[in-house]
């Protein structure tokens, strides 16, 4: 199904100029986003399809208010943050290489340590 989603995604991007995403953060990760848990964002059109690696850069530039090092390390998310794409662990979706589709749901969740 990953392949079918990817091909659907390609088709999508040839038709479409902008990419609309739901970005959610929880478990404390929302504190990096000014305490706001739900963001509905629109990524500008570009010739290549957007992948998660590019999304992380875009988020750093456009959504994070301070201390980006608590969100990314190198070109990936920092240890302790789990990324979910459409309610599945991003590891199942291709991680940084996953090509985003319109209306995708991306969640950044910080592991909780309270009890």
């Amino acid at each position: 199904t990953l392949t079918s989603r990817l091909s659907k995604c390609h088709k999508h991007h040839t038709l479409q100029i902008e990419l609309s995403l739901f970005i959610l953060s929880s478990g404390g990760a929302e504190l990096l986003f000014d305490g706001v848990k739900k963001h509905h964002v629109t990524l500008p059109s570009q010739s290549e399809p957007w992948d998660v690696k590019q999304l992380l850069v875009w988020i750093q530039r456009n959504l994070l208010k301070e201390r980006p090092e608590l969100f990314v390390q190198g070109d990936t998310v920092r240890p302790g943050i789990l990324v979910l794409i459409n309610d599945a662990d991003w590891e199942l979706m291709g991680e940084l290489d996953y090509r985003l589709q319109d209306q995708d749901n991306v969640v950044f969740i910080s592991t909780l340590h309270g009890g």
Partner: protein
């Protein structure tokens, strides 16, 4: 290890009658519970309801581990303890409360800190599910590795502010904690309840949820939370279930060529102390 019951006593039948009626449990499931021993690591906000419902349901043996003493600031969420127990070891206070509810459960309090030196020996005494409700990072890796090395499932939950998370690790081929988090988080990103606060009933719900999954595993039905992350948001009263990655071939402890074959220094690994007594507020 715990006395193998061949049949239920008349008193057992009376006490458990409302759950014996369930086709999902029945007499065989109840006997399975009575043969199960569970170690609860942490008798706090999660451990209290967890111990309460496991004991009520008739788990055979319950290990209650906590190094801490009861304080007034615990009582808004650690409902097994009472005002009169202030200053008492949590493990003892919890054991007394559990006994009041069900004296047929074998209850063993451990007033100590889990360490690389004692963890394996302790955990091996608890053949079935091993439950962690512990919050600090080094102890989470320690409990995870000890469970993997002893081949036991780990029903893990956490709660902070108005949110909760639950996963059953190392269960039926699913991932362990290290498969998900191979590298510990930077210490300044870790918040605990003293720092971030928590609404008491949130660990209440998550601890009950842990009890449910332990009971499903112990009775023989099996958990539905292996390779799943259950997220709870108390503000909008919503649960979400997330499909996690499978067991990772490259995992340092459960993978194909594990580099962790015995318990090591987890405080050094995590760059953090294994207590939650003092910690700065960050996020």
């Amino acid at each position: 290890p715990t006395k193998a019951k061949a049949a239920l006593s008349n008193e057992d039948i009376m006490r458990y009658s409302r759950q014996l009626l369930l086709p999902e449990l029945g007499v065989q499931g109840q006997l399975n519970l009575s043969k199960t021993s569970v170690l609860i690591v942490g008798c706090g906000g999660l451990g209290c309801p967890l111990a309460q419902y496991l004991a009520a349901a008739g788990i055979g043996r319950l290990g209650l581990l906590d190094y801490d003493e009861v304080e007034l600031s615990n009582l808004h969420r650690q409902v097994l303890h009472g005002e009169e127990n202030r200053g008492q070891a949590k493990a003892l206070s919890a054991a007394t409360a559990v006994k009041r509810l069900n004296s047929t459960v074998e209850c063993i309090p451990y007033h100590l800190q889990l360490s690389p030196e004692n963890a394996l020996q302790l955990i091996q005494q608890y053949p079935a599910a091993n439950v962690s409700s512990t919050y600090n990072v080094p102890t989470r890796y320690l409990v995870n590795d000890a469970c993997v090395l002893s081949g036991k499932p780990l029903v893990s939950a956490s709660a902070l502010r108005m949110e909760g998370q639950l996963t059953v690790y190392n269960y039926r081929g699913g991932p362990c904690y290290r498969c998900l988090y191979p590298v510990p988080p930077p210490q300044e990103t870790v918040t605990n309840c003293s720092d971030g606060g928590v609404l008491g009933v949130v660990p209440g719900i998550m601890g009950c949820f842990q009890a449910l999954e332990v009971l499903k595993i112990a009775s023989g039905r099996g958990s539905s939370c292996g390779q799943q992350l259950v997220m709870f948001d108390a503000q909008d009263a919503r649960f979400r279930s997330i499909k996690l990655r499978p067991k990772q071939a490259g995992c340092a402890v459960c993978g194909e060529n594990p580099s962790v074959t015995q318990l090591a220094d987890y405080e050094a690994f995590c760059g953090a102390a294994a207590t939650d007594k003092c910690r700065k507020l960050n996020l």
